[in-house]
């Protein structure tokens, strides 16, 4: 079953230890305090859960949380 964007945001909230309601799509990862290690942790869990591979370069250009979720969503949806 395909995850919803909500599922992905919940994983980000869990891995980066941020309350989900603070995760505004326009906010940058930086401003949310999501460090590169948190990004790695999120990708690790997504890959595990949805059997997908997401490369570093796939997310290299993402700046905001919304863009980050978009990339993950597209990758997962393409399985």
């Amino acid at each position: 079953m395909l995850p919803t964007r909500q599922t992905i945001i919940a994983i980000i909230a869990d891995e980066a230890r941020i309350e989900a309601d603070k995760l505004e799509p326009e906010a940058t990862l930086d401003s949310l305090g999501i460090a590169s290690l948190d990004v790695m942790s999120v990708l690790f869990v997504i890959e595990e859960k949805f059997d997908v591979i997401i490369q570093q370069e796939d997310i290299a250009a993402t700046d905001t949380l919304g863009q980050f979720v978009d990339v993950i969503f597209a990758k997962v949806a393409a399985i």
């Binding site: 869990d14 230890r17 290690l37 942790s41 690790f44 890959e47």
Partner: protein, 409 residues
């Protein structure tokens, strides 16, 4: 003039209780935390389960931490860091140091841990060895490393001074407290958050301890006839140590004074205790504290409940104190909270200080009958005491010994 070191805050979590008050309330009445535990906890996907006596923390209460810090503070951390943060938060709260400028650059963090994040590493290795998955969670190292608790506490409290974890197996946190005392005496800092943590109640760690043949199958019976061995516990204990004038100037409540520390290395065997090494550490602590060997004292023994350790410690105490030993009172609190390995020294020193304050020696529980090889003035029931000094012993595997001496404020 020598800079004196006092204790202005205490905090602890263990199977016995999730703060110093609850811990004391239970131990004072002989209520122990050892019960049967099944490992692994909360995971039914592993084919192997083991059962045995242990003193676990079933669920860490995080209210005190969440009241101070964001949820993010402890969310995904290994229990090792979670325990350490809980105990440190309580201790710093009691010392009324939250928001104090001294935390910035004039405070150190010195913790003792026997091992790192066992749960984190075991989960990581399970993926590799059991499932053949060649990828580990990116937080495996940052969460599992033995120094993580010091870093996490530093981040939460904004401490920019010296911070580290030192390791000497079962004496780790006693060494940490002693070395922290020297940091303050030397003028490097005015405050130190010192203590230790251990989170060793995991399947892999358990099996490794078990294979040593040092674990009891019934319970922990320090200095008793028919004692079988140690029982593992888990948790953390922290003290806020402070330079006396600094504490007085800010009107802090002084709970006790840390007046001596002795440490030694047996340089003899990786598991067998050595009476001479133990004696050296006790004598060194007395010399440092300038406390005569015939002063009546409360002795918080290392008292693990293993046949060899207890007999060796008893012989060392008899040799050091001679006839004066009879006027002392010996407690062995591992009978109630189990062996917290790296955190034991700090928890036992903390309980011993409260015992001095309250004038009550908590009872050694689970004791069946006297072992002639352990003839000591044991507190087998709760005993009123008027000792002014505490000598707290920690003698680790590998012959690393640390003895702390405290006195009532």
């Amino acid at each position: 003039m020598k800079r004196r070191v006092v204790v202005t805050g205490l905090g602890c979590v263990s199977g016995l209780g999730q703060d110093a008050d609850e811990t004391w309330r239970r131990i004072a009445v002989g209520d122990g935390a050892i019960r049967e535990l099944t490992l692994p906890r909360g995971d039914d996907t592993i084919a192997l389960t083991v059962r045995g006596p242990a003193a676990p923390i079933d669920c860490l209460h995080t209210g005190r931490i969440e009241a101070r810090f964001a949820t993010r503070a402890i969310g995904k951390l290994d229990p090792l860091a979670r325990f350490a943060i809980a105990a440190a938060t309580e201790a710093v709260e009691q010392a009324k140091l939250f928001g104090s400028p001294v935390l910035d650059e004039r405070t150190s963090i010195l913790l003792g841990c026997g091992s790192g994040g066992n749960a984190t590493f075991e989960i990581g290795y399970r993926r590799l060895f059991e499932h053949g998955i060649g990828k580990a969670h990116p937080q495996t190292i940052p969460n599992g490393m033995i120094s993580a608790p010091a870093s996490q506490i530093a981040m939460l409290l904004g401490i920019h001074g010296p911070a580290m974890v030192l390791s000497s197996a079962c004496a780790s946190s006693a060494h940490a407290i002693g070395e922290a005392m020297h940091m303050i005496r030397a003028g490097r800092v005015d405050v130190s958050i010192a203590g230790g943590a251990e989170a060793c109640l995991t399947l892999g760690s358990w099996m490794a301890w078990h294979s040593l043949g040092a674990m009891a199958t019934d319970t922990c019976r320090p200095f008793s006839i028919d004692r079988q061995g140690l029982v593992l516990g888990e948790g953390a204990a922290m003290l806020v140590l402070e330079e006396r004038e600094h504490a007085v100037a800010r009107g802090a409540a002084i709970l006790a004074e840390l007046i001596g520390y002795g440490s030694s290395s047996d340089a003899r065997h990786i598991t067998t205790p050595d009476r001479a090494g133990i004696e050296r550490a006790i004598r060194a602590a007395h010399a440092d504290a300038e406390l005569p060997l015939d002063a009546p004292i409360l002795i918080s023994s290392h008292g693990t409940g293993t046949r060899l350790n207890d007999a060796t410690e008893a012989a060392a105490l008899q040799a050091v104190y001679g006839p004066a030993l009879a006027a002392n009172t010996v407690i062995a609190t591992k009978s109630a909270h189990g062996h917290l390995i790296g955190a034991s020294g700090a928890l036992e020193f903390l309980i011993g200080l409260i015992a001095l304050q309250k004038g009550l020696a908590p009872p050694i529980i689970n004791h069946l009958a006297t072992d002639p090889a352990c003839a000591l003035p044991l507190a087998l029931s709760a005993q009123a005491i008027d000792h002014k000094h505490l000598v707290s012993n920690s003698f680790a595997f590998g012959g690393l010994n640390a003895v702390l001496i405290g006195r009532v404020a």
